[in-house]
């Protein structure tokens, strides 16, 4: 398999060298993944390297025809009108042609399974695959690179604007292996434009609490003047332990707009690493997480400003109920040559219970002198004054709470540029808030 063999070997070595991050790891201090693997039958060291390949006959099996029928039905629940008309379905990382439909793709758009791309678009893969996510930087990147079986490959050719949103349905089922590595590669050539929504959902007969660990990695490459909107919707994934890494490279005058909305999942770690490697780029990173029970959600972001005249804007918000825990770690690097950078970051959290906790850590490292950077973070309970004000006007405590929380979340949701997705997200969020408030 040419370049893959040595790459996988190197990745495995890198993983073994780093090991699973434990409590001593600075990057995983508040999200110790050791416990996910403890007692489980997952011993990464024991997984045979040679058995893995970029092939559907690798670790994950394609569902049977019967299962496909069932899945098709189950997936209707996650359809978003105005978004899902063009959809790609991945089941346990395996691209399922039969459930996918792309009626509105203009010429120049390539969408296929990553495994398939290896034979059909080999030179593209050789050029880009694993060139951005550094196996030495994070053990989960290494693990993914060593084992990933399949995923999605997308390329939008130079100058092509994809008018319709593409919906990636990222489905995890009971059949997923205990440690599932899946991988996407999305390539925007010069001046290409596309909107992508990725929904992660669990379709399961039973609730496999704490069984699966999904380690997914997406490499997104934005060539000059391209524009990508990339929305991660993590909904309906009860029982899931997820490490989701998005590695982005931005070239000159590119525009990247991303949202990470986490409404479900047991243990969720979102890594978002953006390298802005050229001038006049624009980067927007927004996140919203609403947690309950003993859920854990960790958002780690990194914006690496390497060149001058760029702008980044970040807004993350969390609403934590019950005994749930949250982490926000937002790093912004401004390298020495990166003058005239505007970088803003804001992180706000509302704790709905005394047992919920959040760890927030903004990290600004600025080595250039002519920059405008700011960050702010706040954590607190619902504003008592505002609650009293609304109740004194006749609103029930429940309605007042709902209104304040909804308004809080709206700051993030309102920045979703795809109208039907915004409406859909609003709907999901109000349902979830209703649930938390009525308790």
């Amino acid at each position: 398999m040419g370049f893959l063999g040595p790459l996988r070997k190197r990745a495995m070595d890198a993983f073994l060298k780093q090991g699973l991050p434990g409590r001593k790891s600075e990057e995983y201090k508040y999200s110790n993944p050791e416990k996910l693997f403890r007692g489980a039958s997952i011993k990464p060291e024991s997984l045979g390297l040679e058995s893995v390949n970029f092939n559907v006959s690798g670790l994950e099996k394609k569902p049977s025809v019967l299962d496909l029928k069932k899945l098709d039905k189950a997936l209707q629940a996650f359809e978003i009108k105005g978004v899902s008309e063009n959809r790609v379905v991945l089941v346990n990382g395996v691209y399922i042609q039969e459930l996918s439909a792309l009626p509105d793709m203009p010429e120049g758009v390539l969408i296929c399974s990553l495994a398939g791309a290896l034979t059909d678009y080999r030179s593209l893969l050789e050029k880009h695959f694993s060139k951005y996510a550094d196996v030495e930087a994070d053990p989960f990147i290494a693990l993914n690179t060593a084992y990933a079986g399949d995923g999605l490959f997308m390329r939008v050719a130079e100058g092509v604007t994809v008018g319709k949103t593409i919906h990636i349905l990222n489905v995890i089922t009971d059949e997923a292996s205990a440690l599932l590595n899946k991988r996407n590669l999305i390539l925007l050539e010069r001046s290409a434009e596309v909107d992508v929504v990725e929904s992660t959902v669990v379709v399961s007969e039973e609730v496999n609490v704490g069984r699966n660990v999904v380690n997914e990695l997406s490499e997104l490459i934005l060539d000059e003047q391209s524009r990508l909107r990339f929305y991660r919707m993590q909904q309906d994934c009860e029982g899931l332990n997820l490490i989701s890494t998005v590695q982005v490279l931005q070239k000159a005058s590119s525009h990247f707009d991303t949202h990470t909305i986490t409404l479900s999942g047991d243990w969720m770690r979102n890594n978002l690493n953006i390298v802005v490697d050229a001038e006049r780029c624009e980067t927007h990173l927004n996140g919203l997480y609403i947690t309950r029970g003993i859920q854990h959600v960790d958002n780690h972001t990194l914006v690496d400003q390497r060149k001058p005249n760029c702008e980044s804007n970040q807004l993350y918000k969390g609403i934590l109920a019950d005994k749930s825990t949250g982490v926000f770690n937002g790093k912004i690097f401004v390298r020495r040559d990166a003058q005239k950078i505007n970088a803003y970051q804001s992180s706000k959290t509302i704790l709905l219970s005394d047992d919920a906790t959040v760890n927030t850590k903004p990290q600004l490292e600025i080595y250039a002198n002519d920059v405008k950077c700011s960050h702010g973070s706040s954590t607190g309970h619902l504003d008592e004054e505002a609650m009293f004000y609304l109740r004194s006007r006749g609103l029930s405590e429940e309605s007042a709470k709902r209104m304040l929380l909804y308004a809080f979340a709206s700051d993030v949701v309102d920045t979703i540029r795809i109208e039907p997705l915004r409406a859909y997200a609003n709907d999901l969020i109000s349902k979830q808030l209703d649930f938390d408030i009525k308790k």
């Binding site: 009293f388 004194s392 006007r393 006749g394 405590e397 209104m403 304040l404 308004a407």
Partner: protein, 246 residues
């Protein structure tokens, strides 16, 4: 309408109201005046149901109901309204938006049919005109970036929308210039009726030139030390609180 008997309340173990007695009849306007720190805001907060304060004695009957047993929203639904001295800013929530919900819930509480959207909007227009509130303000986040005068007008606008039977205006005049004061007072005067009572809390007599009270009470160190008619306010203006509270 409202009957306060020997009301005692405090905060953190410190007694602030030391036995207030006050009877307010339907359609009456009562002014409560007093120097800073006498307990005026505490009284309005206790009546509206702010939980920071602890009631240690006495009773308050509102249209025959034990007011102190009700939570803030129930008091509002029973017809009580408090215009805040310092209206809060609420990002992301517009006045129109929460009023719609508030009115729906109040009507449900009273067993009235829901208000139709067009009737609600008509009402909004009418009441905005009453307090000369720009339409755009009511659609914006509550009080966010409003001037002092706009905030107070927004309070009176909400009062007009909610049609209370008893409205407490807590230092509504503070921070207003004379023009804004006139607009606010005008709005209040238009809402006066034989079934609606007002408690106007103020430090200065100035507001009472515009909202002419039926009764004036002087609050001092947690007690009403003197009551009279509007002449009492004039007297206070001339002589100051010193003599009366001695």
């Amino acid at each position: 309408m409202l009957s306060i008997k020997n009301l005692k309340a405090g905060i953190d173990g410190k007694e602030i109201l030391k036995g207030i007695n006050l009877e307010i009849g339907a359609g009456e306007v009562h002014a409560i005046m007093g120097p800073n720190g006498s307990g005026k805001s505490t009284l309005s907060s206790v009546l509206a149901g702010r939980t920071d304060y602890e009631v240690t004695g006495g009773e308050v009957l509102f249209n025959g109901k034990n007011l102190l047993e009700l939570n803030p929203e129930e008091r509002a639904r029973e017809g009580l309204f408090l215009a805040f001295q310092y209206p809060v800013e609420i990002p992301g929530v517009s006045t129109i938006n929460f009023l719609k919900t508030a009115i729906a819930e109040i009507r449900e509480y009273k067993g009235l049919p829901a208000l139709e959207a067009k009737d609600f909007l008509k009402m909004v227009k009418e009441k905005q005109a009453l307090v000369e509130l720009k339409g755009s303000l009511a659609s914006r986040a509550v009080n966010e970036g409003f001037s002092g005068g706009e905030k107070k007008r927004n309070e009176i606008f909400q009062m007009a929308m909610l049609e209370p039977t008893l409205a407490i205006l807590d230092e509504t005049d503070s921070g207003l210039d004379i023009d804004a004061l006139r607009v606010v007072a005008n709005g209040v005067n238009k809402l006066r009726s034989s079934t609606r009572s007002f408690v106007v809390i103020t430090h200065y007599q100035r507001l009472l030139d515009y909202i002419v009270p039926d009764f004036v009470h002087v609050l001092f160190e947690g007690r009403i030390v003197k009551s009279g008619d509007k002449e009492l306010a004039m007297e206070l203006e001339k002589k100051g609180y010193g003599e009366l509270t001695r």
